[in-house]
Amino acid sequence: MVKELQGVIMPTIEFSLKDLERLLGKKIDLEELKNEGILFVKGEIDEERNGKLKVDIKDTNRPDLWSIEGVTRELKGHYRIEEGLPKFKIQKSGLTVIVDKKVENVRPKTVCAVVKKLKLDDEAIKQMIQLQEKVCQTFGRNRDMAAIGVYDYDKIKGPIKYTTFKPNELKFEPLGLKRKMNLKEILTKHPKGKEYGYLLRDKKEYPIFIDSAKNVLSMPPIINSNYTGKVDENTKNVFIEVSGHEINHISVALNVIVTALKERGGKLYSVDVKYGNKTVTTPDLTPKKARMNMENCRKILGMDISAKEMLKLLRQSRFDAKLKGKEIEVSYVPYRNDIMDERDVMEDIAISFGYNNIEPEEPKIYTKGEGTKKERLSNKIREICIGLGIQEVLNFTLSSKEDLLERMRIKDDIVEIENPVSSSWCVFRNSLIPNCLRFLSYNKHVEYPQKIFEIGDVIKIDEGKETKTRDVRNLAILITGIKIGYEEISSLLNSLMENLKVEYKIEEMRNEKFIEGRCASVFVDKKLIGEIGEIHPEILENFGLEMPVVSLELNLEGL
């Protein structure tokens, strides 16, 4: 399956073994960690050098695992240092955030928290920034769905207001700059403004967090202010906000951050976020519940596993688990957003048990295998072509507009890519010939005569189809050499058809691709299935070829 697609966004976390041991309170056996422990958090060690580890976390739906703090929390379960639901104590901070109605059409939601008594060293700050970035990028969909701001709590005077300002109405010093800029300037001139400015495109006013001393905290989701938004090793207490469009989504992000800071010794405090008359108190770490049917679990895992064993494995995966008749009820911390169905609980049982402790068993289903008609026909043709002494080649189905149209002297409606990486690969071939001519152009110094064939799909526009296109399986044969002429290709066509026992007719035609009087259409059952001929010298010139070329292209579905 498409690992590469996931790979683009797969979070990679870096940490030192020492830091992990400090958080875990246990010496680590590196071999065990590599072979078993890290699998428990869907991780794979990518690199290990001088006590520094680089780990790919494969689950792009578990932001709670994207930090060393979160990984440690799960590993404590695996090593049986701490099991069951992690407990978090939240006190009241007394801080209020007032959400102005004006943000509704801009960036409507926020959830906040205060964490005190932090002892942040370099490593801890690095880890916090790393986690913040991963969450914003992957879980926050590049800051659109969730953007996180962390501030020095001691510089803030509550209550905080979440509101909007017009582009020229307000100035502040953005993080990393020593000069005040207005909001418009920040979006057009600051590097982060340039990178994320599109998220506020078309907005008449921009969102702002500002405290009662009129100090700007930030313009989400773009940039913090230099004054309150700078966090270093001297920072003891922090205020955290997450902004976005949907309370549930941003709450997960907030929960991930605050619970990670708790692992660093921080004390959690709640904030009252006021939406008009409604108050939302965050962070809310009240456990969520889910149920799983034990029989279904045994069936899906294919394992005869006792209720007692399931409960034990779930507690190791940091769930609280209780028997409820034929079901198990689990409780989990709401930094997990991935439990949609009982299957998600089953997977955690299997991971906790250890995939490599399960005895693999091949499926006992006996079915008759079968290839497709298209491939069977292609194989038949391939066999004849090889018998005729022709070398098979394999080209890309992508090509350039120049090769497909201009160099071939034709105009055609072709399938075109909107966001090509290179103009050499921006359209789908409508014929096999151009890429074969390109092939010959790379081989001008190779011994002649050269005989090549390709069997492959060309893509045609077809309004009648659901995908507005149609894959057509074609055969092309090209022969080039000093004394090569039309007869060579017509005798090959004849031999091919005789071996297939297909009756065909040849009709004269005119075509921009070929020399006049040296080309023909091929018909089977009165249906046009292809053409043969000698390629026009101007086309040869266009491809830089210096020997005559004769070609044949047939639609195999017509045979």
């Binding site: 399956m1 498409v2 690992k3 697609l5 996931q6 683009v8 966004i9 794979e44 494969k58 689950d59 792009t60 739906n61 990028q137 969909r141 769905m145 899906i300 294919g302 949609m340 997977e347 995939y355 490599n356 399960i358 693999p360 068993e361 091949e362 499926p363 289903i365 006996y366 079915t367 008759k368 295998g369 079968e370 290839g371 072509c385 090889i386 070398q391 098979e392 394999l394 189905t397 992508l398 409606d413 399938v415 075109e416 890519i417 909107e418 966001n419 990486v421 092939f439 790379y442 081989n443 190779v446 005989k451 090549i452 799909d457 893509i459 526009i461 659901e466 995908t467 507005k468 894959d471």
Partner: protein, 404 residues
């Protein structure tokens, strides 16, 4: 030079039987009676028919076309001036033969000479015993001949397909240009998922939009997304066309159209992804994947299937399973095989399709799905280090590639 055989002499005197038949036909049409009149009637009938002169209707013989002259008869009269094609027919009909003296004369001309090629006259007369056959330089390398050959990567593709068919898998195919619906939505990949970004997959400039399937399926998929991923599902986005980004796009198409249960399916197709082409990246590549569907399919079976693939395709001796994540499978797993030099190398990703995916498509039983990093496997098999060589543009390399 040729001379007439006894039969030839007879025909020269009496005329060829087919000519005699034509003459008789002027008076008599009845088959049976003609048989009594014309000598060598069967031969006459066969040749007259072959020449298109006559046809049989019931018990009658009908004249179709009367020849103005008959070259074969003329050739018989004058062998020296006869064309080769008529001589060949006469030889075949055993009416003439080569003159023995001529053959001997020709054969004798070689006697005492050192010859390279053995002339047929020498074999006919046995005089080969009296000539000297020149020795060849048998160590000389012959002229280079290039046979027609299958493209090596294509051969590997066909071998793998054949193997899967032997293992009971049916091949699936789908269009190269897909709607986002089948490529992503039907696979439970949320529309705002970063993997669906502009930079990670291609989109089309022309044509831009396709059609969605049956309304029932679309509604079910929409509901599944909105319930589980918490966002507003956009039908227009689902209609957008794109080059197929992964082979898994084909699976929901098959699942939705009512397939045999239990069943095993695979696809090996071209997929497309924006990238800068280099030794390890292609923008166009093959992916191999598929699924096994059945009432009792489970994780244990999935691991068993993957292990079998690792042994069959990867020649693996040792395998290891890693918990993995795909939006469309749960549980998910990756299998790696031990490589002496590289350590654990990822071979395949797999999982059990989520219910959120299968139920909207009308499937009620477990589906275990898998995908193999095919191009890497092919590179190992062909012994190439640069992925671009799979689609080699080098004719010499193709011509000289060892046959696998």
């Amino acid at each position: 030079m040729y001379e007439l055989t006894e039969e030839g002499k007879e025909y020269l005197e009496k005329g060829l039987p087919e000519i005699n038949l034509l003459k008789a036909l002027e008076r008599e049409k009845d088959l049976k009676k003609l048989k009594g009149i014309v000598e060598n009637f069967n031969i006459a009938l066969q040749w007259a028919k072959k020449n298109g002169w006559i046809k049989i209707e019931g018990s009658k013989l009908i004249l179709e076309k009367k020849p103005s002259s008959y070259d074969l008869q003329e050739s018989l009269k004058n062998l020296e001036k006869a064309e080769k094609k008529y001589l060949d027919i006469l030889l075949k009909r055993n009416l003439i033969m080569e003159i023995r003296e001529d053959i001997e004369k020709e054969a004798k001309s070689f006697i005492g000479k050192e010859i390279t090629n053995i002339h047929p006259s020498l074999l006919k007369t046995g005089l080969w015993r009296k000539v000297e056959l020149k020795e060849y330089n048998v160590k000389a390398v012959g002229k280079k001949i290039y046979p027609g050959k299958i493209q090596p990567y294509q051969k590997f593709i066909l071998q793998i397909k054949e193997k899967l068919i032997e293992l009971g898998f049916k091949e699936m195919t789908g269009p190269s240009i897909e709607t986002e619906f089948w490529n992503f939505d039907a696979l439970f990949q949320p529309q705002n998922h970063p993997a669906r970004d502009w930079t990670d997959t291609y989109s089309l400039k022309k044509p831009k939009y396709g059609e969605l399937p049956d309304k029932k399926i679309v509604e079910a998929v929409k509901k599944s997304h909105e319930k589980s991923w918490n966002y507003k599902w956009d039908e227009e986005k689902a209609r957008k066309l794109m080059p197929r980004a992964h082979d898994t796009a084909i699976s929901p198409r098959y699942l939705s159209k009512g397939i045999e249960i239990p069943g095993k399916y695979f696809s090996l197709v071209r997929c497309y992804r924006p990238d800068v082409v280099d030794a390890t990246h292609l923008i166009e590549f093959n992916q191999l994947g598929g699924f096994v569907i059945g009432e009792n399919m489970n994780l244990k079976n999935l691991l068993g299937l993957l292990k079998m693939f690792a042994i069959e395709f990867g020649g693996a001796e040792e395998v290891k399973f890693f918990p993995d994540y795909y939006p469309f499978t749960e549980p998910s797993v990756q299998i790696s095989v031990k490589d002496k030099k590289l350590g654990w190398v990822e071979l395949a990703g797999a999982g059990i399709f989520r219910k959120e995916l299968t139920e909207p498509l009308g499937i009620k039983v477990p589906v275990i799905a898998w995908g193999i990093g095919f191009d890497r496997l092919a590179m190992c098999n062909l012994g190439v280090n640069d992925i671009r060589e799979l689609f080699s543009q080098n004719l010499s390399w193709l011509r000289n590639f060892r046959v696998l």
